[in-house]
């Protein structure tokens, strides 16, 4: 337990077991990014998976939309302490996109329009845990929230769900993405409150 600050009582405690430690619940959908939203035109949109040997797999917007989609409903947790329950999305499972990719990599760098990057273990993207999402609550994903398409990895803090995603680079060794290089946690499990390096 931390040291007590005299006079501080805090609000009535609620034990909500869907809420990770240190988070509070919001009804709206706040925006968090390091700069303005890049505007990406669908005719130029590509999603590229690059393996550790340099082999590329590429999908256009039309390709993506012809792949089987899923409609996950998930809770999301932002490192700035808000959580939102029951958000619904449509997108393509990474299991589908990575099915024919031959790789020995254990790690992935997600890369976005605008230069944003974030690193993840490959296994966290597989087995029904991650999607390339293009609809939110039944509508096209707005640019502020990462549209036309973003990575969705709801079991990790939401900065891992890279907005405006344009590709995945498969890596044999882990490397640090944008926020991770600035001191945020390399993995980012909200249930273990892995906010900053060393947490």
């Amino acid at each position: 337990m931390g040291i007590v600050t005299p006079g501080f009582q805090g609000r009535a405690r609620s034990a909500d077991d869907k809420l990770p430690p240190g988070q509070y619940l919001v009804e709206d959908f706040p925006v968090l990014s390091a700069g303005p939203a890049p505007r990406v035109r669908l005719e130029n949109w590509r999603f590229t998976v690059t393996t550790e040997t340099g082999q590329k797999h590429e999908w256009t917007w039309a390709d993506l939309k012809t792949l089987p989609s899923e409609t996950p409903t998930v809770d999301i947790h932002c490192v700035t302490r808000w959580s939102k329950f029951g958000t619904s999305w449509r997108g393509v499972s990474l299991d589908t996109l990575l099915a024919d990719v031959d790789t020995a990599a254990d790690y992935v760098m997600a890369e976005s329009h605008g230069g944003y990057t974030t690193n993840l273990p490959l296994e966290d993207l597989l087995d029904g845990q991650a999607w390339i999402a293009y609809e939110f609550e039944g509508e096209d994903l707005p640019a502020e929230h990462g549209g036309p398409a973003r990575l969705l990895v709801p079991h990790l803090y939401f900065w891992k769900s890279a907005k405006w995603v344009k590709g995945l680079r498969l890596m044999l060794d882990d490397d640090l993405g944008f926020w991770e290089a600035a001191g945020y946690h390399s993995y980012g499990d909200p249930w273990r409150e892995q906010r900053y390096q060393g947490d």
Binding site: V4, F8, A34, G35, P36, R81, Y196
Partner: protein
């Protein structure tokens, strides 16, 4: 940038300054504080007698100065932490802090690019740290500050910002009610304000925008529309809501 584990440290409130009727600057003494850059923030953790604790993030209001950490807290009505910090927390009382956090929304005194700062309400806090860092370093880098507030009574650091300072242009925009001698009607910041008070995009300034989410989105989009490269527009959002 942040090396190893970010440790919780115990700080003590050394001094308070009321900025407005609802915002208070807290000057904390934090033994072992490693220093910070203008624009970074700190996590503040409060623990009650029964062991319950909760954490909030606050921007640092002044450049590094030994073991001193200055924050300015706006009272959010009904909030769990901000009313406590602005009304109850008293000099000599301890609180836990860790940081500094954030290595992106920072201004370094060695930088020579012209700077545009755009603040909405409490969003002035990290931008004031940049203004003060410039002064502390004797930097001649030209700064422009565009500061949106509801009324003249809501201006933080008013005495300091109204004192003329070479190379720093300050423009206020009032959203609810301006002072008697202010030309123009109260309004939210728009493209004309940013265009008039800012730098031409050809000067390739560094732009820092901070405030409530909706404000930051609006200003960042205006800057991009005015031709500023998105990578030169750095943003920090305080509020979870679009208010």
């Amino acid at each position: 940038m942040v090396q190893g584990k970010l440790a919780w440290r115990v700080g003590r409130l050394a001094e308070v300054r009321d900025e407005t009727p609802t915002a208070r600057t807290l000057v904390l003494d934090v033994p072992g504080w490693p220093g910070h850059l203008a624009g970074q923030h700190v996590d503040v953790r409060l623990t009650a007698e029964d062991g319950y604790s909760t954490t909030r993030t606050y921007s640092i209001a002044a450049p590094a100065d030994g073991e001193r950490v200055e924050i300015t807290v706006q009272r959010v009505p009904g909030g769990e932490v901000s009313p406590f910090l602005t009304e109850v927390f008293a000099p000599g009382d301890p609180v836990e802090l860790r940081g500094p956090v954030g290595g992106w929304f920072v201004w370094r005194p060695a930088s020579r690019d012209p700077v545009l700062l755009v603040a909405g309400g409490a969003g002035i806090v990290p931008l004031m740290a940049m203004v003060r860092a410039r002064r502390q370093a004797g930097s001649r880098t030209p700064f422009k500050l565009l500061y949106s507030v509801r009324t003249p009574e809501d201006v933080y650091y008013a005495g300091e910002l109204r004192r003329p300072e070479a190379g720093l242009d300050v423009t206020f925009v009032y959203s609810r009610k301006g002072p008697a001698d202010w030309p123009g009607e109260p309004h939210r910041i728009g493209v004309a304000d940013v265009n008039n008070a800012g730098w031409p995009a050809e000067f390739a300034p560094q732009c820092f925008v901070c405030g409530p989410t909706g404000f930051v989105e609006a200003v960042a989009n205006i800057l991009v529309a005015l031709g500023h490269a998105p990578r030169r527009v750095k943003t920090e959002r305080f509020g979870p809501s679009g208010s």
